[in-house]
Symmetry: C2
Subunit: 244 residues, 2 copies
Amino acid sequence: MVTMTRTPHPESRDAGVRVAVSTVIFSVRRDEHDEPVLSLPLVRRTRDPFDGRWALPGGWLDATEELDTAASRTLAETTGLTPSYLEQLYAFGAVDRSPTRVVSIVYWALLRSDEVDAQVAAHAREGDAPENVEWFDANDLPPLAFDHNDIVEYTLWRLRNKVGYSRIAHGLLPDEFTLADLREVNETILGKRLDPANFRRQVDTSDTLIPTERFRTGSHRPARLYRYNRDVELADRGPLPSRH
Amino acid sequence: MVTMTRTPHPESRDAGVRVAVSTVIFSVRRDEHDEPVLSLPLVRRTRDPFDGRWALPGGWLDATEELDTAASRTLAETTGLTPSYLEQLYAFGAVDRSPTRVVSIVYWALLRSDEVDAQVAAHAREGDAPENVEWFDANDLPPLAFDHNDIVEYTLWRLRNKVGYSRIAHGLLPDEFTLADLREVNETILGKRLDPANFRRQVDTSDTLIPTERFRTGSHRPARLYRYNRDVELADRGPLPSRH
């Protein structure tokens, strides 16, 4: 049945719907025991609603601004971070997720830990370090503002699915890395140990890695360094901007 | 650098951004040579912008309406169709995609051809058949309104990727079907022939299908009917509504 179940009010239909962007940005950081932890930065809210609670970095979409530009801008303004990888995730628009009607276009991003450290250090040097920002264990969050716990949970689910079939871990690794580095990132995302021999076999049968002639030396036996095959797409980054 | 590159106008920041929903709904329909064609319904616009052009079914998001409800409602209002499967795809928000700033949350949906026929017949009986709707070959579209050609192209790309690793073709098949039926749907989505023996082997090694004790008889030798294993998730349908 095609029934008009509501009286159309063309002028008021979209009244009160506002568009925001938020970004879940992951990095693998070391805890006090030097263990890798899948981590994300949160921003403490300083006004209602949810005054004092931690929230994802984000803000309002400007009417003259592209969606991914808004995601990068609000991430930089709130955390000072510039990610190596940014992808649209999902539009969260439940009617009751906020006291007013807000549709949040959520992006997710990845950033290598050495880049996090370098960017944080640069802000400290220049005296413009962002306030009210802290990094949290993605798997051990306090109750966040709005539906942000759900958003992080869904992002984690997508990230865990993606490591299986794309070279997404690249966004968390330097240009050259050992198989042990790559396995550790995958283990940190998946939250479980992977068998080193099986992991090496899987990597060997895929075309995503290229062995270099360089080795990392140290307390262990030398480990070959690899780099990613750039012919393979990192992941679905959404429709190409050039098509618009 | 955390630099405030624009003067913040909290009241005006989101001014002029409106939220719409659109749905790309696919079915496999027969052409005049009884060949299967991946098809989608479009709605002819009767006002500016793009007066007279074909466009995806959709409309404005109501401030008190969930996103997927808005997708279902606007699809029913414009085409009379109720899909068997509906999933959020992507938020299209390029600044220049419309004369005014519109962020469109795009859904994609699947509907079996016998359901399409039954729903169309029911509307004809009841005298409320939707106007200005026609079905098109998804791979041979005219220039559409807004960025809707890009949206369909991206949806096709995602659909082709999904058939590989999920039981998405289920949304286009009846409850029981032969392996030839399933192969035909996959071939129609992918736009290429699949080797029958290889296809059977792939299906046999997955846990997505359950053989029944029933057979389809006709001019060929009897073919066993299969049904989908409902323990396997159809595809990523986004965050569970219960989490909100």
